[in-house]
Symmetry: C2
Subunit: 350 residues, 2 copies
């Protein structure tokens, strides 16, 4: 990876060989660095961790805070962001890429000042996909085997083993077959659960999937599949078309005793409808990582609901090391005038 | 599977073709049934479920209660048992097989009246192996990702995401590489955890394993491996050689912050030593399915310990349907004078 430590041939659209690059590096020690805005809704320790990882992956770069970028906005060539404050990305005339460090870009797209002509890329981090698959599989295993019930009984001092069912009898539906949905579907199917996957629009799941996941699309197929589903795992992007998808009508289409795992966005779920379906017992349990307001406000019924297991938006965090490498690969491509990976389709909103 | 509903040619060592068997069945409607003792430490519903499943799998048999067997002991040709009361299996002169419905036979072997010359077989049920793999993987995922901590924080109304580690950095050691240990090791390795497996005696793990599990054996290798282990999953048989293996010395050999998952037998663990290691914080957490006394007595420190997650001996139950088929296959083999599968080595005690 020696070449990663060298300055790329910015703007030429090609990279020199190792020797040429080494000579160029030696000859340009006094060149001004590349200025990139780094801005996230995080604390100082997290900011430092990302800055260090990005600096190590792309040493020829100066990583600017929002204030530093504002001091000389014409020099800022790209932005690496994690839910930056609205307005952060306007007035930067040389901006060539906005690279999100998070997979979901719904909050970025909600900023009306986001420059429409600048390419915007989602983070696709293999380590984050693996973490999401772990959480999805843990939730499915917990629901299938009743481990949340055992935890409650331990608290009550009650010894009672319930009947055991087979994985092959627990039907799982994964909503969304993006990188994270596919990783989750693969892991769940790997333990013997029959898994279906649903996307809003028809899409081809490539042969590389190598897993027995029945792919469905469209509203009609969704309603039909819900009637044959025991556990729903939501990993859809949040778009105007998917907001509020998990509502009263959705829950009513599930068989009694089904469970919900929401690992995507809080706004996919209509909270009041979910609480009603849990309170009547139609839904057995909900595992929720994401909420309409985060942190979930004190006193919200989810906190103490016996049928709700909560995570604090921690199902899958970007891995600093691997995400920094993915971001830098995209930055180098954009600064060299090439195509970027995982570019957001502004029309589809993901 | 039509032939399974027909009476086998008992004692001939071979089975007739379909037509011959059908004729023979028609011709022997008045033959006395085969008498087999069915006896477990279970309630009426569970007794009925096993009786029905066994009757369906071997219709030519009369499944006798302990009282019925005692009424005409010379007719009892085999026994299908699940921790029967001590003394149940003595005085049955025609007994040709004792088939356990449970995988562990330590309680059976502790009965001094167990007839020493009668073959004794453990239950090996693929569905039970799968259930054990599910529980082991759930425990590893929960410990790795801190899901037990999140549950505690939910109870406290506290929103706090901790740092995320990679599966490849969590070293798992599976003690015991029998059918259940191997199933667990495979499932855990399948999610990307580095897995080692340990057996007391050297053994060859067959090529069919097809999983990257480093197999170790012996005391010295165990001590060395413990120092490099984050999560121990115990699936050893309980024998005089493994009783109390998880003691103060064992825990001290683990790095600080390691965790224990005991899915085998309570007597593998020295409870006082485990509690001490949890209380000092040397061990981070213990997931315990099995206990020296079951049900675990009220007031035992495990019930309310913040670092203990308990299951009521429910990590893997025999699946009635598949275990009945496995038991009947062994009964047919024994009654036909053939070799039985998974016969217990009385010297090794498993």
């Amino acid at each position: 990876m020696g070449s990663e430590r060298l300055r790329p041939a910015v703007g030429t659209g090609r990279r020199g060989g190792f020797t040429a690059a080494l000579l160029r590096y030696s000859g340009r020690m006094d060149d001004p660095p590349i200025d990139i805005l780094l801005c996230g809704d995080w604390g100082a320790a997290e900011d430092a961790a990302w800055r260090d990882a990005l600096q190590a992956a792309m040493p020829e770069t100066r990583w600017l805070s929002l204030a530093a970028a504002r001091a000389d906005p014409a020099r800022v060539q790209a932005a690496v962001v994690a839910n930056p404050p609205p307005g952060s990305l306007q007035g930067l005339p040389a901006l060539r890429l906005i690279q999100s460090l998070w997979a979901g870009v719904d909050r970025l797209l909600a900023d009306p000042t986001l420059p429409p002509q600048v390419p915007l890329a989602r983070m696709v981090d293999p380590l984050m996909n693996a973490a999401m698959a772990q959480t999805a599989l843990w939730a499915v295993l917990s629901l299938h085997r009743g481990f949340f019930d055992y935890a409650r009984r331990q608290g009550e001092g009650r010894w009672h083993a319930h009947a055991q069912t087979r994985a092959e009898d627990i039907r799982v539906l994964v909503l969304g077959l993006g990188q994270m949905g596919l990783a989750a579907a693969r892991a769940i199917a790997g333990l013997g659960y029959p898994v279906s996957g649903w996307t809003r629009q028809p899409r081809t799941v490539t042969g590389a999937v190598a897993v027995d996941v029945a792919a469905l699309s469209g509203e009609t197929a969704l309603r039909a599949q819900l009637a044959q589903t025991d556990i729903v795992v939501n990993l859809l992007p949040l778009t105007p078309a998917t907001r509020g998808l998990l509502d009263q009508r959705f829950f009513a289409a599930l068989p009694a005793g089904a469970s919900i795992v929401n690992l995507a966005r809080g706004a996919h779920v209509v909270d009041a409808d979910l609480l009603a379906a849990l309170d009547t017992g139609h839904l057995r349990h909900a595992v929720l990582d994401v909420f309409t307001t985060e942190p979930l406000p004190a006193g919200h019924p989810f906190w103490a609901h016996p049928r709700v297991t909560m995570l604090p938006h921690a199902a899958a965090l970007s891995d600093v090391r691997s995400a920094a490498h993915a971001a830098v690969a995209n930055l180098r491509a954009a600064l060299a005038g090439g195509a970027v990976a995982h570019r957001v389709d502004r029309g589809a909103a993901y």
